[in-house]
């Protein structure tokens, strides 16, 4: 807090105090909101709640009530810190009223009793919640209950550098047709490897910079698993699925990429900043990222003429078994068990107002995320934005999400560990798959189906 802020807080507190003395009816509420993985462009995760509080206060005033809501927001730029803080705070009963986190936390946190099912507090049959995309609501549900309200949606995107594609002989039309070819499965990940290899051979891009996937663990890598035919959850039983063949295909793909020299063996763990700068300076042949990166590149990293420089598509299929795909990783507003039922009801009301298409669109456009509901997609403000509208059309229909299963974390870590091992060459692809299999088998037993 800054001194001015402290001063204003003191003034506010004093003001509130005198107000309470004057009118006994005045109701004061403090609602705390914590958001993880939030940088400057996504400040609306908290600010939307503040806006909602303003609306609620005005509504109360019209009813003749005197309502004061103080929203205390705190954001973390990373996930590990944030999740640790939420978990420990919940344990000490000081968790915030509203948690903005990834939907995959619903599994463990609902088991631990950190969360209240939000459907007990809001009406999904009433506007604006009834127009939220059903698949997103499903992502915010777990074990038969709806736990959260989707805060944003995104798709993960495969990017190609247009100038570099041209340099190896692609015509404008061919480049324009690329996304469709990817979608149909005509253009696979291996075609991509050959193309970027060609770019490197012809000196268009530097060695080892042909392909620049995500630098750290994240949902992105599960897309490549799906590209090789993998499924994360069995549709019938709802159990997790470990698909040996798909995983082998995926590990092999990255091992091959390293062997071809289009990505360094030590690539994982590169600093995000380096990656962003590389993208903004058009140094890579192909890369994958998220829709929200668009906002960062154009606003923070000074990337100009994005649409002239970059072609984008789904993540290509890896082989005949797989499909082109994209994973959406919606953040959700969650209600914690901290505080009274009254506090929770108020927080839920704030979240509902914050899910108003106009308020949510502020976040979508500011941070490059996608609309959470059909009404929001219709807003001119949203629809006129080229990036969000194009990605909504091209990618969103083909997205799926990672499972909310509390056990998925183990599988997730094991998959990434194996990937690292195969990628850095510290073990063979077969051994890496075997190690991952042993790990999930010993940790999850019957809860995972091995194929």
């Amino acid at each position: 807090m800054t001194p001015t802020k402290i001063l204003s807080c003191i003034a506010l507190a004093a003001g509130l105090l005198s107000a309470t003395i004057l009118s006994a009816q005045a109701e004061d509420h403090t609602v705390t909101v914590w958001a993880g993985g939030t940088d400057e462009s996504s400040h609306y995760r908290v600010d939307a709640i503040k806006l909602a509080a303003g609306f609620l206060e005005r509504q109360a005033k019209l009813r003749g009530e005197d309502l004061h809501i103080t929203v205390q927001g705190k954001t973390w730029s990373t996930w590990d810190d944030f999740k640790q803080a939420v978990t420990l705070a919940a344990e000490s009963h000081t968790a915030p009223n509203i948690i903005v986190s990834g939907h995959e936390d619903i599994g463990p946190w609902s088991q631990a009793g950190i969360l209240r099912p939000i459907e007990d507090y809001v009406d999904f049959d009433a506007w604006p919640l009834d127009q939220i995309y059903k698949n997103l609501v499903k992502v915010a549900s777990f074990d038969g209950q709806i736990w959260g309200i989707p805060q944003d949606a995104e798709a993960r995107v495969f990017f190609f550098s247009k100038p570099h594609l041209k340099a190896i002989g692609y015509s404008d039309d061919q480049i324009a047709a690329l996304p469709e070819r990817v979608r149909k499965g005509d253009y696979t990940l291996y075609d991509m490897l050959h193309d970027v290899k060609k770019m490197q051979d012809e000196g268009v891009v530097e060695k080892g910079k042909g392909f620049a996937p995500r630098v750290s663990n994240g949902p992105d890598y599960w897309q490549f698993y799906q590209s090789f035919g993998g499924e994360m959850v069995d549709r019938k039983t709802g159990k997790l699925v470990f698909d040996r063949k798909a995983l082998t295909g995926m590990y092999q793909f990255f091992a091959d990429a390293v062997k071809m020299g289009v990505v360094p063996a030590t690539y994982l763990g590169t600093e995000w900043d380096t990656w962003h700068r590389g993208v903004a300076a058009d140094k890579f042949g192909a890369w994958d990222g998220g829709t929200w990166h668009y906002a960062q590149w154009t606003k923070q990293f000074g990337m100009k003429d994005f649409f002239g420089k970059v072609q984008f598509s789904l993540i290509p299929a890896g082989n005949k078994n797989g499909r082109a795909n994209s994973i959406t990783h919606p953040l959700v507003y969650l209600l914690s068990t901290t505080g009274s039922d009254e506090d929770a009801a108020l927080s839920a009301e704030l979240i509902t107002i914050a899910s108003d298409p106009r308020i949510n669109a502020l976040h979508a456009i500011s941070s490059g995320h996608l609309a959470i509901g059909s009404d929001e997609a219709k807003l001119p403000f949203y629809a006129n934005d080229r990036w969000t509208s194009e990605t909504t059309k091209q990618l969103l229909p083909y997205t799926n999400a990672i499972p909310n299963d509390a056990r998925f974390g183990v599988y997730w870590s094991a998959m990434y560990k194996g990937l690292e091992a195969a990628w850095t060459g510290s073990s063979s692809v077969e051994d890496a798959v075997k190690a991952a299999e042993t790990e999930v088998k010993s940790a999850l037993g019957d809860h995972i189906i091995i194929r």
Binding site: Q84, G269, A348, S413, K417
Partner: protein, 468 residues
């Protein structure tokens, strides 16, 4: 890490000059007559014992206990509750629980009957709303809460807020699905209310399946023993400790000797410079190294100008990453070692050196024949102590390479920290992390016992000489 020096300080002056006589001391326990306990002593010791007990010993013991549990962020730390959810019940299919019972527990029936109305009135539900319910819905039953909710919302006087509506629905509900019960007895009573003639064995099974908290297990250790990653971590840790230690000892010995022989001014300047790694806060120290070796940092730019391969040395290749990890930690170690060995050097009687000089010994001979033999024990002490510190250190690696590239520079302590407290997916496995920590403690205990034995603990605990 200042511990080393200070601990040696406490061990002096014996260490510099004399090999351990641990066995001798153990063989002749002083046949001291019984002495009166000093009450003042207890009083003076009490606050320390209290603080250490509460904020050191209790956490340590708790860690030992956690190591044998399945504790994670999903189970919570302080205990669980009993809850039946759809997934949990489905998972019970074919485990000896009769399917009817499962179906029974899975239903979410709501019935509008007189008893429900009475209970609702007692719970303070709005009278007009209750009158509505009685008039239109009495006698009806609903398959699930969502249907019931919609039916209630069709009534004229239904509450504006969903939360109040849900509270009004509660008395009519006959389901225990998704209800959290704080104790086993409450959960058992709830099960009996829907399935009165349940067998005790089945009830037991249901209850343990519905428990959300942690349970006892030795699985953590089995897992550590069987997973292939363990070997990799052990090898990494051994490599890291051994090489860093070698580096620190060599550099600190050189520094101590050099500053011993150099003119006073030069010596002071260098020893002051080498104090910096020790006293700089770890966050700044780590970032300085980043700046030094990072892409766009000092070394890569310099290398670029010289036409050498320039890349992010800290994460760009395994050999450079290890080199940097070893230097980052080795410099701190050298800092401590220098301080320690310098003071040991100063304790060597200067006459011996003069004498050798008169005999025409060269500096090298002087170092080898006179100084090194006398530094044997300080060096050994430093080595063992520093090995212990390195084994459990992770901050510097965490803040620099973070175990990368891949997991090539990952070590045991860092992995324990990550498993227990720092995970991208938020899946904090306290139990497993505690088990990893416990193994570290075990190794540390063995090493420190070795240390105590080698350095003749008994001499340090000389008996008081005044009787009051």
């Amino acid at each position: 890490m200042a511990e080393t020096t200070a601990a040696l300080r406490a061990l002096r002056p014996d260490t510099a000059s004399r090999p351990a006589g641990g066995t001798r001391a153990l063989e002749e326990p002083e046949a001291t007559p019984r002495r009166r306990t000093s009450r003042l002593g207890l009083l003076m010791l009490a606050p320390t014992l209290l603080l250490l007990g509460v904020f050191f010993l209790v956490p340590a013991v708790l860690t030992g206990i956690f190591a044998f549990t399945t504790m994670s962020s999903a189970t919570g730390i302080s205990g669980g509750a009993y809850v039946f959810t759809a997934n949990r019940l489905d998972a019970l299919a074919g485990s000896g629980v009769p399917p009817e019972t499962i179906t029974e527990l899975r239903t979410e029936r709501a019935v509008v009957d007189a008893a429900g109305l009475a209970a609702a009135a007692k719970a303070g539900v709005d009278e007009r709303f209750l009158a509505d319910i009685k008039a239109t819905l009495l006698g009806q039953s609903f398959a699930g809460p969502r249907d019931f909710k919609r039916a209630l919302q069709a009534l004229p006087n239904h509450p504006r807020r969903i939360f109040e509506l849900k509270q009004a629905m509660e008395p009519f509900s006959h389901a225990i699905l998704n209800t959290r019960f704080a104790t086993r007895d409450q959960a058992a009573a709830a099960i009996r209310s829907v399935a009165p003639d349940i067998e005790p064995a089945v009830l037991d099974r249901l209850l343990s399946a519905s428990y959300t908290g942690w349970v006892w297990t030795s699985e953590n250790f089995v897992r550590l023993l069987t997973q292939p990653q363990t070997l990799r971590l052990c090898l990494n840790t051994v490599f890291y400790v051994a090489v860093t230690l070698g580096f620190s000892v060599a550099i600190s010995l050189f520094l101590a000797l050099a500053t011993f022989y150099l003119p006073r001014r030069t010596a002071t300047a260098f020893s002051a410079l080498w104090l910096l790694p020790k006293i700089t806060p770890v966050v700044l120290y780590a970032i300085l190294w980043k700046w030094f070796t990072w892409e766009g940092g000092f070394l890569p730019i310099l290398a670029g100008h010289l036409g050498l391969p320039a890349f992010n040395y800290m994460k760009g290749s395994v050999p450079t990453a290890w080199t940097i990890v070893i230097m980052v930690n080795g410099f701190v170690g050298a800092s401590i070692g220098m301080i320690l060995l310098t003071s040991a050097l100063r304790a060597i009687p200067v006459q011996q050196l003069w004498a050798s000089e008169v005999d025409g010994a060269s500096r090298w001979q002087q170092v080898r024949r006179i100084i090194l033999p006398q530094l044997k024990w300080p060096i050994l002490f430093f080595t063992i102590y520093q090995a212990m510190s390195l084994m459990s250190s992770y901050e510097q690696i965490w803040l620099t390479t973070d175990g990368g590239p891949g997991n090539t520079t990952d070590v045991w302590a860092l992995e324990a920290f990550r498993v227990a407290l720092f995970d991208y997916t938020g899946n904090l496995r306290y139990g497993l992390g505690a088990a990893m920590a416990l193994i570290l403690v075990a190794v540390g205990l063995i090493v420190s016992l070795l240390l105590l034995r080698l350095f003749n603990f008994s001499d340090l605990v000389e008996q008081p000489r005044i009787e009051t």
